[in-house]
């Protein structure tokens, strides 16, 4: 004698379980691919290293401006709301850190200079205008706490 009582609810719960796991899986895939597609880590690495190259080749007294439109766009998409935190210079460690996501990527420069007056100047909105990172390179200060 086969007792089929309750078999309908079994099938229902199994299908619900399959649907729930499938939805969680695709949601996870979409979230992961979305994060990878804007390549925040690669761009952090790129900007940190290229800015360090600019500093290494600079001399005291130079004033530099770098197009950072791409970086600031990625940072805003990844909810980095404070634009001042996107590019941080640490003169004590001779280091530039770029933050385009929850974490940040840092790279050192070996030219013994200090970076001062660093700021991101936002595009004014005119056609062709871009966000600019502006900073000055000066002689190394002997006070190691200077930033």
């Amino acid at each position: 004698m086969i007792n089929k009582r309750g078999s309908g609810s079994d099938i229902l719960w199994q299908n619900v379980a399959y649907i729930v796991f499938t939805v969680i899986f695709f949601a996870g895939i979409l979230l992961f691919l979305n994060q990878q597609s804007n390549g925040a880590f690669v761009w952090e690495d790129f900007y940190a290293k290229e800015i360090s190259r600019v500093i290494n080749l600079a001399e005291a007294g130079d004033e530099l401006q770098i197009d950072v439109q791409k970086a600031t766009g990625i940072a805003l998409r990844n909810d980095v709301s404070d634009i001042r935190r996107v590019f941080e210079f640490d003169n004590a460690k001779n280091e530039i850190c770029v933050k385009l996501s929850a974490r940040k990527t840092c790279y050192n420069y070996y030219n013994n200079v200090d970076v001062v007056d660093a700021e991101v100047i936002l595009a004014s909105g005119d056609k062709g205008d871009v966000n600019i990172l502006s900073f000055k390179v000066v002689e190394k200060r002997r006070d190691e706490n200077a930033k």
């Binding site: 004698m1 086969i2 007792n3 009582r5 309750g6 078999s7 079994d10 199994q14 379980a17 399959y18 796991f21 499938t22 899986f25 996870g28 895939i29 992961f32 691919l33 990878q36 390549g39 880590f41 690669v42 952090e44 690495d45 790129f46 940190a48 290293k49 190259r53 290494n56 080749l57 001779n94 850190c97 933050k99 929850a102 974490r103 940040k104 990527t105 840092c106 790279y107 050192n108 420069y109 070996y110 030219n111 013994n112 200079v113 190394k140």
Partner: protein, 150 residues
């Protein structure tokens, strides 16, 4: 009387389904990580920049004393280079007329290995003629960026 024979195997299939999803997700994750995870390979550029700075310093400053005494610290001070940072991931060697004057260590031959991966250093080699002396500058870079929280 309830006959539960066979009902449990339907729930076992759910675990197999979840396992399959985990396998698929793991494959996609591994593929994108391998493709995007390497970062920006800057070692060759880093070695070239350091080589350029050293050559510039040799041409613009008088390093006779540093070469004579093989003084590495004196060299860093005159050329305004940060010794600690260079020590972390770079090396260089300066030779004058074939005689090694300043050497910070490192294996420059690894740069010539065929089929080397990103775990090997990249080198830059240049020669300059200064007042009849042939000065060879070799630099090496293995520096990588750091990913930190905050």
């Amino acid at each position: 009387m309830q006959n539960r024979r066979g009902s449990s195997e339907n729930y076992v299939l759910i675990f197999a389904f979840v396992f399959l999803l985990v396998l698929i997700f793991g494959g996609i994750w591994a593929g994108t990580t391998v493709y995007f995870g390497e970062g920006y390979d800057f070692r060759k550029v880093d070695a070239e920049v350091l080589n350029y700075l050293i050559r510039k310093c040799i041409l613009e400053r008088d390093l006779e004393m540093q070469f004579k005494e093989k003084s590495i610290t004196g060299f860093y001070e005159i050329c305004s280079l940060n010794e600690e940072i260079i020590a972390e991931g770079n090396n260089f060697r300066i030779s004058v007329n074939g005689e090694e004057k300043i050497f910070t260590g490192g294996d420059f031959e690894q740069c010539d290995f065929k089929g080397r991966t990103s775990k090997f250093p990249e080198c830059s080699r240049h020669e300059i003629d200064l007042e009849g002396k042939m000065i060879k500058v070799e630099t090496l870079s293995m520096r990588e960026s750091r990913r930190v929280n905050g």
